[in-house]
Amino acid sequence: MARITASVYTSHIPAVGVAMDLGKTQEPYWQPVFEGYEYSKEWLKENKPDVVFLVYNDHGTAFSLEMIPTFALGTGAEYPPADEGWGPRPVPMVHGHPELSAHIAQSVIQDDFDLTLINEMPVDHGLTVPLSVMCGQPEAWPFKVIPFHVNVVQYPVPSGKRCFELGQAIRRAVESFDEDLNVQIWGTGGMSHQLQGARAGLINREWDNAFLDRLIADPADLSNMPHIDYVREAGSEGVELVMWLIARGAMADVNGGAAPTVKHRFYHVPASNTAVGHLILENNI
């Protein structure tokens, strides 16, 4: 039987990907950022999943305004890195797990989540930067990836509560898959940042750390926070953090299991416009 063994949370800042692609990780500006992922890379090697269910948002790359899905599940076999305007990132092709994806689609749609299924799309920094910070620069990604896109670009975006409940439905889906698979779920985006207007550059260190505390200790309560609080406190793009609730909702304790172990927690300001947040939670079975 497939099992969700751990969840990983991380910002997916494009400049972090660029710093890796250009070999700048040891520069004084970037060194403290990447130091925060040293433990994580070791941990991931020792806890190598078969599949990562990777929750992210496409940033107007695969999805233009022609068609805006609220939740989109990748059911394809492979996903090429996107050209976001600077040319595609020099990172490996992302390989999917169509059988598990199809199974999750079947289960989650029957649980009344109105997914859009995607068989072909390029994946942008929202998906590839988390892979880079967690895996470094391998020739090929060491596991399969199921991309799951959440609309946080055009309002209304799905509520924190909806996201948290979706995580629970994903857990049910994964755990009813017959094959023995080690599955991790990653929630990406955030933490506080605003990329637009006179308020660009907003960072709220106190709020971010309270978010991490609550995500660990009481995610059900955290999931009731309205969008406006994210925007007001953590910047217009801080609303990406609702995606972390999907990953958190898929953990065992939400469904009556044991509380997860916090394996790693990291916070740093700044990377480009953004506060970097990162967390690893392991299920205890």
Partner: protein
């Protein structure tokens, strides 16, 4: 429309909702076209001619040509789409974001290294934070010029 839009009272912040999206549809679609290298080349060769291929308003075209991202946002642009223009110009996200604050690139970068913009006074319109309308444009850079 009588639906609640509680996000109109935050200074220096535009929430990209369906209304903004309608307004900015072709502006953002033009931006999306710049994800193709050949379109970036054509745009750079003759910006006005390339823009004229899109159902954009003249105000939108002017805002693109003058790289006024704040004006682009007022006209329905969304930052993720507008970023394609910056990418075409070889700018980073930090340079683009900074360009909307009135600060010089160095001032903005220093603000970020110093911990970023404080939320204090910047949560509601009418407070006294540095992102409030009455404190624009920001930065010594601008003040010196003015």
């Amino acid at each position: 429309m009588s639906l609640n839009k509680p996000y109109k009272d935050i200074p220096g912040t535009t929430i990209f909702d369906a209304e903004e999206s309608r307004k900015g549809y072709w502006l953002n679609q033009f931006c999306s076209s710049l994800m193709k290298a050949e379109n970036r080349t054509r745009f750079k060769a003759d910006e006005r001619a390339y823009l004229n291929e899109w159902k954009m308003t003249e105000a939108q075209k002017d805002a693109v040509i003058s790289r006024d991202l704040n004006e682009c946002i007022r006209l329905g642009g969304n930052i993720y789409f507008l970023a394609r223009i910056g990418a075409t110009d070889g700018l980073t996200f930090q340079q683009m974001a900074g360009s909307m604050t009135g600060m010089s690139e160095e001032e903005y970068r220093n603000m970020m290294v110093g911990g970023g913009r404080s939320p204090e006074g910047n949560r509601y319109l009418g407070e006294d934070g540095d992102a409030q309308p009455h404190r624009q444009p920001q930065g010594n850079h601008n003040k010196e010029e003015a």
